[in-house]
């Protein structure tokens, strides 16, 4: 049972990337949390949460953290009625962070079930106990396609890059309508692409920014192994070799539809800004957590070439020709970045007026070579997430 002056916040998605960072930040700030989540086949919910908190260097504070098993597909989100009523009555605010971030069209049903159909349960939970605020973690990309300036207003877009964007836009509309009807103050927080901690490089997830880098990393290792251990015949056939300075010459032409940038914010900025917005006086609103000085892919490619000791990566604006003339690396890389391509050369401008007001003009740091290196060092060190908890266990 909680017992102090901080508000009680019910948080969903605490086992995900953004949710776990929010959980840690809120606990560090003294908040009292009810984590609504699910066990997996391998681990109970409390075990999952404890493991995550250990990664943050924290122990689960028994007096301020409660975990509750839920199921969005069930009435009253799967919580027995008596418990449900008690939890609702104790909840001051709800942060809904749980989301299915899959981009795949063939997963449409699953994505909409998680991101839209599941909303009614958590919204009713908030309304039932007369919570004082509902906070929804959305995405800047609800703006959809063809919006040069993206306002901090409910989305009007009808065309989206993928099913994830579409579902989040639909979710915003559903939530806004419900909250208005139930006089429930609503804050919608829309981060762009979130990567690891800009100060430490640490991250719990390695998709988005990390995926193209990881792809190049694995491809580099394939050819280095070919050259060092198998005579390098295959490498030579693709024009790949180690140059006099020890750099791997890896001809890789990356085609992007137009010039643009990749809108990145570090997770430390995300949690600080979100914390300020949630704790702030504004009764509600929509907030873009985006970066006004986002790097281009050419910049990232340059960072990465130095980081991985490779040369030959070229960013080309325009459509790629036929597959003829492309080496295996280019063909593979091209296919691998396909889902992410629209985000790699983005021309949209994100209005941040609400965010700047609510956060006192706090800005994300510029994405420097140093931050890149810090983040990628960490990613490589934990095998792109493969050994993240094993490494943490070893460290502890």
């Amino acid at each position: 049972m909680f017992n102090n002056e901080h508000p009680v916040i019910a948080l969903t998605g605490a086992t995900g990337f953004l949710g776990s960072h929010l959980m840690a930040r809120l606990l560090q700030g003294g908040s009292r949390l009810i984590v609504l989540g699910r066990s997996t086949k391998e681990e109970t919910l409390p075990a999952r949460i404890s493991k995550l908190l250990r990664w943050f260097g924290m122990n689960a504070p028994a007096d301020r953290l409660e975990t509750v098993e839920i199921d969005f597909s069930q009435p009253k989100i799967g919580i027995p009625e008596a418990t449900y009523n008690k939890l609702c009555s104790r909840t001051d605010q709800v942060i809904h962070c749980a989301s299915d971030t899959n981009f795949s069209e063939r997963k449409r049903e699953r994505v909409f079930a998680a991101n839209v159909q599941a909303l009614s349960g958590i919204l009713e939970f908030a309304a039932h106990g007369r919570a004082k605020a509902f906070h929804y973690i959305s995405t800047a990309y609800v703006a959809g396609i063809n919006h040069a300036v993206c306002r901090e207003t409910l989305p009007a877009a009808t065309a989206f890059v993928n099913v994830y964007e579409e579902s989040k836009a639909k979710a915003e509309a559903v939530i806004a309508s419900f909250c208005e009807k139930n006089s429930l103050p609503l804050k919608i927080i829309r981060p762009s692409i979130v990567f690891g901690d800009s100060r430490t490089g640490r991250s719990l997830k390695f998709n988005a920014l990390y995926f193209p880098i990881k792809t190049v990393h694995y491809i580099r290792d394939i050819y280095l192994n070919d050259i060092r251990n198998n005579g390098g015949k295959k490498s030579r056939q693709s024009g790949i070799f180690v140059d006099a300075e020890g750099y791997l010459h890896l001809p890789l032409r990356v085609y992007l539809p137009q010039k643009g940038s990749i809108n990145l914010i570090p997770v430390d900025y995300f949690v600080d800004a979100t914390h300020r917005i949630i704790a702030g006086d504004a009764p509600g609103g929509i907030f873009h957590l985006t970066n006004n000085s986002a790097p281009t892919m050419a910049t990232l490619a340059a960072y990465n070439q130095e980081f991985m000791k490779i040369r030959g990566v070229e960013i080309i604006y325009g459509r790629a020709g036929s597959d003829a003339g492309r080496n295996p690396v280019e063909e593979l890389f091209d296919r691998f970045i396909e889902p992410y391509r629209p985000y790699l050369s983005d021309n949209r401008i994100f209005d941040r007026a609400n965010t700047d007001r609510a956060t006192g003009h706090m800005q994300p740091p510029e994405f420097t070579d140093e931050i890149f290196k810090k983040c990628m060092d960490y990613a490589v060190g934990v095998d792109w997430g493969g050994s993240i908890f094993a490494k943490e266990a070893g460290r502890n």
Partner: protein, 624 residues
Amino acid sequence: MKESARRETGKAVNEALAIAKNCRHYAMCKIDFLGGGVCASGLEKHFVSFYPEGRMDLYAALMENAIPVTEKCLEIAESCNLCGCCDYQCYFVNEMRPTKVMQALKEHLRAYVKGGGNVVQAKDDAILGAMKKIVGADWASNDPAIRITYHHDLCPHVTFKMPEYVVLPNSTEEISAIIKLLNRNKIPYCVRGNGASSHGLVFSEGAVLDLNRMKAMDFDEKNWSVKVGPGTAAFDLQLEARKRGYRVHTAEPAALVCANIMTSGLLSTFSTAYGISADNYIDAEFVAGDGSTFRLNDIAAPNLFSFRNSLSEQETIAICVSVSVKLHPVTADEGGVLVPFASLDQALDFARECATRHIGLAIGILGGEFVSSFIAPTKRLAAEAKDVFAKKLGMPYLVLLIGDAYALRSVREMGHPLIDQKLFKTLFQGLPALASAKWLDLLDEVSDVEPFSYLRLGQFAELAETAIAPSPALQARDIDPDLRPFFEEVYSRPEMSDLVWLNTFRIQSSRYCREKPCVAFVFYLPIDNALIGAIQDGLRAVAEKHGLKSEFGFITPIDSGKRCVWEYDYYFDHNDPAEIARVRQAAREAGDLLDDYSKKTGTIRQVRYVVNQGCCRKENLLYS
């Protein structure tokens, strides 16, 4: 003997006994499927006891005091020259080294004789004398060292019987005379093709007729047929047919063609094009129960084309002494592909569509257990491969399709990403490097948008080849060091990574029980996804209830996709009495489950009901 030497001897004995008791009785030591030779004494003497399989049984029997030491024991032991060719064969199949048993058998008997142990001489009786008059003195025996190797197999359901006599006739006339002799003396008998038994069907306390000597293969190319004797193994026949530019429809490589046709009826992945049961042969010759002979094509011949869907009438009515098997044409553009699927439903849809449209010669939906067992040279690698295919690559089911260039083009036009011959060779020869290949993680992410879309990349095979660096040496990396050079040479042969050759000769399918033997449920049914899903759930639940490993084996569509043949397997440890008891009970319950579905649907036919009706018309079996 010093204590340390005694301990070493004891260890060697235990190891040899463990190997001996793990022989799977697949008779792979009787065919030269690797080109490394076959046990010379077996080829000369023909009795099972003179093959490595028989010596393993003999050694186990002697160590467990099941039989006395006889003169034949000594002859059998000394007939082995420890050439080691059975190590290649058995290692390929089961990762076992029979030569250790052969050596232990020799040492055991030499020590026994040296220690003054009594060597029993089997005495001829009147029946044996009469048998010898018919087949010759070398080809009939009542010596326990001979009889013991005909008295059991790994089937968990039957009570094994020790025969009084084993006789090896070499002609129809000799078989006829032996039958008449046995009838006159009211001696029960059973018939084996090459002495092997794997399904508990051929045991008798009377006489066993082993037809291993009758290996005739008479090609009649103008009539597209080859007449084969009852001792002819599938592998040997296929080899001869291939030399002449044909293919014959055969089952497991060491299985006997006549026996296959007679007992369960021939079926394989090629059944999609070549059919089952009576589709496979033109004519056959028999010795009837009274010793008379007849041909199937005789107007007055018994109607072996009929089918009775019951267990009650399964006594064999005649001994098949030859079958005229169909020869099938082979085109130079044949090739193979593996089409991956994330679910059985999708695999069934694809297989059904191909069969309905008559695309491909051979089609088989293979589960992860079969795929990994077949392609991996060791048990450990098989376990890793299963994990890689199911988890890392998301391919719990692969549909194998063999066809000509037109068929393969059609499959590509159907739009499924696939593993072609080149990529298969890469994965096959690079298997040991796959489990640790980190780059496979990338494939999972990209597959989210479209499963296996990376397989569409024109140069994926090239990149995979660069990453894995496949080679025969890599493929043989985990094999025992002294056998490695031989296997590197074997794996370097083009046919050893050719999907068409591998599925025609099927030498790898013998690996499917490498980890443990299994009880196979084989049945015909419509390609009805819901029905197949429900039956699979039911079979799996029974196995789980009894703590048994069970796996999907394969499904092959037949008869234009109107039906399919499905194998589902329960694995058990044949040396563990408790597990044998569990698998017996589980098999009974699974049989009941299949009987219930048979009654409910009217469309399911179990191969256990086909036994000894394998000659029947497919239409009688499937639809009447």
